[in-house]
Symmetry: C3
Subunit: 279 residues, 3 copies
Amino acid sequence: MTKTKSTVPLRLIEETSDYWRVVFDYPPFNIVDATIFEGLQELLGRMEASPSLRVVVFESANPDFYLSHFDLTGKIGNIMSAVGASGLPILMDTFVRLTKSPVVSIAKIRGCVRGVSSEFVLACDMRFASRENTRLGQPEVGVGLHPGGGGTERLPHLVGRGRALEIVLGANDFDGDTAERYGYVNRAVPDAELDSFVDALARRIASFDRRAIAAAKHLVNQVSLPSADRLLDAFTSFGTALTWPEAQQRIQALLERGLQREDDFEKRWPEMLGTLLET
Amino acid sequence: MTKTKSTVPLRLIEETSDYWRVVFDYPPFNIVDATIFEGLQELLGRMEASPSLRVVVFESANPDFYLSHFDLTGKIGNIMSAVGASGLPILMDTFVRLTKSPVVSIAKIRGCVRGVSSEFVLACDMRFASRENTRLGQPEVGVGLHPGGGGTERLPHLVGRGRALEIVLGANDFDGDTAERYGYVNRAVPDAELDSFVDALARRIASFDRRAIAAAKHLVNQVSLPSADRLLDAFTSFGTALTWPEAQQRIQALLERGLQREDDFEKRWPEMLGTLLET
Amino acid sequence: MTKTKSTVPLRLIEETSDYWRVVFDYPPFNIVDATIFEGLQELLGRMEASPSLRVVVFESANPDFYLSHFDLTGKIGNIMSAVGASGLPILMDTFVRLTKSPVVSIAKIRGCVRGVSSEFVLACDMRFASRENTRLGQPEVGVGLHPGGGGTERLPHLVGRGRALEIVLGANDFDGDTAERYGYVNRAVPDAELDSFVDALARRIASFDRRAIAAAKHLVNQVSLPSADRLLDAFTSFGTALTWPEAQQRIQALLERGLQREDDFEKRWPEMLGTLLET
């Protein structure tokens, strides 16, 4: 959110005082580390201090990677331990404040969106994905872990228990069409129309009264958000899972094969999880 | 429900003692005002006094308008204040009694169905919509208000939080195909087949034992109906929203542009909500 | 599970110690009676005693009948009265233990799957159905009964209240495509690809760590399983419904027409329920 490129994981474009776009731009792969969460925390502070803001669209500067996944080399700072404004750990605080904000959040998805990044878009109010260019999933179980940032709590309500278990236990990518059919995203939109579709919807919402938007979203939230207790259970269990030797072995295997280093592997790694430990 | 056309917003056709059709016929646009609710309250009384009745199909005499929307000129009588048989305000009482009735309710949808009318079909047990001729939505937020008759409580369970927020905050129309894809209606059926499809289903259900139907519906209700507390929260908040100056300004703008007067505007007004206050 | 064909309703194929297939093989129609539940109870005991097992696929030796339906000639032994390991009646105990097992269960569906058999696949973690060869439904209401083994509790969460009521009150068959569109199954897969699709998914899951699988499934279960109270309500009510004279009359009519005897009638009987008592 600052001016210096090297420390700018999120670029803020104020289309109007009612409508902002936030562009993830954190080369090479938009990996989700402490820096991304710092940017999101700063953004949430700005959103909360902007009384005329109605809607924020989240997108990526890199069409291959929306946000790729949780940093597995350890650059996660204090996001698992320090608490944010809600009193919850920063990782959870970020997602929970986004869901409860009177401002509407829209994820405009192109490219790879896995694990904690899937949980970010699940914490957005709506998700629109490129029909041709989306790889969305929760591959944690294939890495010896499990989702810890709300995926296991939000997916069953969106897609039902059977599809939630397929997504979480199958640990593979979902393309735009399948994600739409399952209800994982609102719609898969042809890539050439995605920008104009989302922009029109955002401008439309931005023209409405903030008080009406906030009241309506609050009412929907009352019957659709998971409880903080359930979210904390998953988060705490995830913290433990990170210490499991099986998980560490799988993480090492992925890093050795090219995760977070090689473009091609970074795009396709969930496919390989079923044979990760074979020689 | 009486014989005089001028006071007959609902026509009752008793196909058999097991199976009734109710036809909304309240020119010019089937606008939902106190008269419609009087008709529905009288109908509910008749349904509750008919021990052999199994199923009621709700349809419209006007293919362009199923029920259009809440009357915005003030002709709502006491439906927000007086209470019905359940002890809830008449607007809510009507919808809640329909959901809990041992009689099965089926909405056969053609034409425009917006706001409180969407909430009426959401209170029906099933919804079948014309594939070619359906304009279904919750445009309240675009009028400076929010849904108050169950839309914000029933939609998340049917379509998930993301799509519910798109429907409610986007405040636009959904056609038959999109409504089916989202789960907003059970099915979109080709218009030429809609009557026979719904009639066959209704006659089939009418042939079953009332006790079995009632027990099965009761069990499904136990795990799928929103609580009265949640419904009352939304209803009360809606009553307050009607007094907001922003809402009054938008309602005035709509009435000046032709709402409840001009056929073409009445069909297309949600499209215009994004530019309603522009000169 | 034993070697003698006459007492072997379930054949167990241990593909590996991680991945089992269970084949229903109980001619002529795989009717669900006390013998099937004995086999499932024995299987659950084996699953619980197999610490390296990750995933079980359930399929049928007969492509026309997965499991057909509850035995209506009375051969249900003590599955409604005696309790299983969970303290719940055996019928419920079987389904509840399957849902809570750390082992992943996948239903690979071909042929007829009705009533208690639908409730079996709803208790599995995932359901994949043959696109061309699936007849899935809850026809109990058309037999004067209602679902009692979890159908009324699990369907609303998967498909929403409107579609759940259509399935339960319409009491008819759903083909693979409609079942997928409704969310009743995860996916309808072309029959020629079904075996390889499910096998690849099962082997993939079998390669993951059991601890990660168990933790992830447990978290999803916390927000997606119906309560034991709700399941018991339906089960108890079903026990009562079996004594209703209307139900007994419909059951007799079905048995006289050929149920559990004639192949063609066994395949198509739900179609006839709307005219069952006509002469």
